[in-house]
Amino acid sequence: MNAPSITSTAQTPAVTRRFDLRAALKDSFRSALIMLGLSIPILAFRTDQSGGDIFLTPRWGLVAIICAIVFGLRLLLHAFTASKAYRQATPSSHQATEPVHAEPSAYQHVSKFAIPFFLGVALAFPLLVYLIQGGLNESRYWVDLGILILTYVMLGWGLNIVVGLAGLLDLGYVAFYAVGAYSYALLSTTFGLSFWICLPLAGILAAFWGMILGFPVLRLRGDYLAIVTLAFGEIVRLVLINWVDLTNGGAGISSIPRASFFGLPFTAGEGGFAATFGLEFNGMHRIIFLYYLILVLALLTNFVTMRLRRLPIGRAWEALREDEIACRSLGINTTNTKLTAFAIGAMFGGFAGSFFAVRQGFVSPESFNFLESAIILAIVVLGGMGSQIGVAIAAIVLVGGPEILRNLTFLQAIFGTGFDPNEYRLLLFGAGMVAMMVWRPRGLISEREPSVILKERKAISGSLVKEGHG
């Protein structure tokens, strides 16, 4: 295979001064042929059903369009790599060495302004939306979206403790989310406990489950750990489906009590939130309250994580991520270190889960499938493992992005009226995960801020940090 690598990082192409059009055309044609092979028959024929019959509908036009697109993209890629190779061939006086070192202040420079900015926007978000949309009821959609994004930010930050800091790839994080959600749902519907009592209980239960599930997997590493956590996540979901007596099975638990504003329910009558504060009753009060609740929970997660990073346990996590064997030989108790990472990560998952239950008022096992774990993991990975602000940005992009896609009505004009971008959401999502790993395996923010500093602060580029076995 002499075709230039798609990433062009693996091998540096031979420096050619001019763009070899013939070779590029030939290669593009070959790519298009491969695409043709790939799309037969899965794209070329559509299986349609009517009644019990199944028949095929050919759609060669679609295949032709896709092959043409592949051809064009491949040609562009060739032109791009050729011009890049040309630029690299002309020596630049600025690049005496490879530019591996990130400027020490660049990341801190950004984060100094970015963090207060994001925080400000997050705090003022309902007000901003209220002003822009011109009414409480009109802003409902946006506040709901904000809640959804913040839930994923919180889950991302929770998983970041396990994956980003301790370097343990957990594919079953959604299990703890489920434990939290079901804890609240069951405790409130059977014992009538209020949200404010259930929230810490859900966290404790999830942490407990984190320990239980974490304990057997302590000696596993890397891929095996990931697969076992995936198995645990699936087991939890299957048990939730099949243990009908407790969980009501696939039908789920409905009519879960709503959260109150420190004892004041969000009802229209006397003694409700609106009446006590002399406001006109509006259902949006509860939504905005939920928004600030998840914001506080997410910030709490962030705050605890940032603090923990400075404690010995946080440093042990990061040491464990870098090299487990070195860690053990330095006398760090890897058992306790891993278990605390699992437990604390799970605890925040549990908080988020019980928030999910109180927001939806309904939980069912379908909300906790593997895909959910994959989405949370993707948020952590895209954000750059270990970077808090990166995770937040990734959550906004991954959760908010498809919503924006849904609202782009002009797409329907291009692709026809039957076009529903939401169908393509997961498709793009999977492709995005691959593309991210190929182009920026360290995530959007690949800088790693050291937690221990000698004399002066320096940001370390992610590419300098080599991960050991462990």
């Binding site: 295979m1 690598s5 798609i6 990433t7 693996a10 491969i34 092979g37 790939l38 037969i40 028959p41 899965i42 794209l43 024929f45 299986t47 349609d48 059903q49 019990g52 199944i54 028949f55 095929l56 790839l169 594919l171 997997v217 000696r219 596993l220 891929d223 095996y224 990931a226 697969i227 076992v228 995936l230 198995a231 645990f232 699936e234 087991i235 299957l238 489906i241 099949n242 064997i325 593997f370 895909l371 994959a374 993991l377 993707a378 990975v381 169908e423 393509y424 997961l426 498709l427 999977g430 492709a431 995005g432 995960m433 691959v434 991210m436 790993m437 190929v438 395996p441 991960e467 076995h469």
Partner: protein, 306 residues
């Protein structure tokens, strides 16, 4: 007793399918040390390819002989699925060689999500039934209570095809220069490259072989169950991975043995315990095997290099 024999037959059939998928996992893990998470979805994709070709052959070209149609479907599906396997390796895994250790796994999860949703978008979300293909059965013996132990032609086809293909691929890996190159890469990739083995091509071929066997499994799955949907890749994929680990990852006979054991466990569990918890049983076996005997039945114990 009759039920036991019947379940034994069913379990071996299911186990053959799992074994075929498991080989793809075990070979890829052996050579580049990654869990090819997307392998289950390649299997699902191949079942779709088989379905469409079977419909093409029978309804459009009017081939009435089911045996001939199946043979053509098998060959074509193997070729096309191999191309998919090759393309996936080329696009999603090859650029990541030398990246950090979790990158290939995350990329594979991405491919898995992509493939299942690609099929969903391209073919719709509903279950796709096939017209019944092979329906004859041989009644082996009749029980006293009127319960017949039957061996269907389908099951015979599946077991025979599995056995034949395994022999072919076993020969390929053990006796040919390709197999030698592959085993050399498994032991030491850098050294193999120094000795003039094209490592990239060898790895590509490993993926191609894995995909080809998965496509056989896909065709057999379609033949056996007669229905396929876009999310049928995940659970069989995980079970086949369990089989690969149980047999000892990196070992070809181990993968088949593991597949048969998993198939039998699943079938007997459903028959004698509860059918609802059969997937829980499979996932539990996966966790237990990985935790307590990660080198499996026929595998070599992993040596920890510092």
């Amino acid at each position: 007793m009759e039920i036991f024999v019947q379940q034994l037959i069913n379990g071996l059939t299911l186990g053959s399918i799992y074994g075929l998928i498991a080989i793809g996992y075990t070979m890829v893990f052996g050579i580049i040390g990654m869990v090819n998470f997307a392998h289950g979805d390649v299997f699902m994709l191949s079942a779709f390819i088989s379905l469409i070709f079977f419909l093409l052959l029978t309804t459009w070209l009017g081939i009435s002989s089911v045996a001939l149609a199946l043979l053509i479907v098998l060959v074509v599906a193997m070729a096309l699925t191999s191309l998919w396997g090759w393309a996936i390796e080329r696009i999603a895994y090859r650029p990541l060689r030398g990246s950090f250790r979790l990158a290939p796994l995350i990329s594979a999860i991405g491919v898995s999500i992509f493939l299942s949703n690609f099929v969903q978008v391209a073919q719709g979300a509903r279950n796709k039934p096939t017209p019944p293909m092979v329906q004859d059965v041989i009644v082996l013996f009749q029980g006293e209570s009127g319960y017949n132990v039957a061996l269907s032609y389908k099951q015979i086809i599946i077991m025979v095809v599995t056995a034949v293909l395994l022999t072919i691929f076993w020969y390929l890996v053990q006796k040919t220069s390709l197999g030698r190159a592959q085993r050399a890469c498994e032991q030491d990739r850098k050294m193999a490259a120094l000795l003039g083995i094209n490592v990239d091509r060898t790895i590509s071929l490993t993926f191609v072989i894995g995909a080809a066997l998965a496509s056989v499994a896909g065709t057999m799955y379609l033949l056996y169950y007669g229905v396929v949907s876009f999310n049928d890749g995940f659970v069989p994929g995980v079970k086949a991975f369990t089989a690969a680990v149980l047999g000892g990852i990196g070992s070809l006979p181990g993968a088949v043995l593991g597949g048969l054991i998993i198939g039998l466990i699943e079938v007997f569990w459903s028959a004698y315990f509860s059918i609802e918890y059969k997937d829980v049983a499979a996932f539990s076996i996966l966790a237990i095997v990985l935790i307590f005997m990660p080198s499996g039945i026929l595998g070599r114990p992993e040596v920890e290099k510092v």
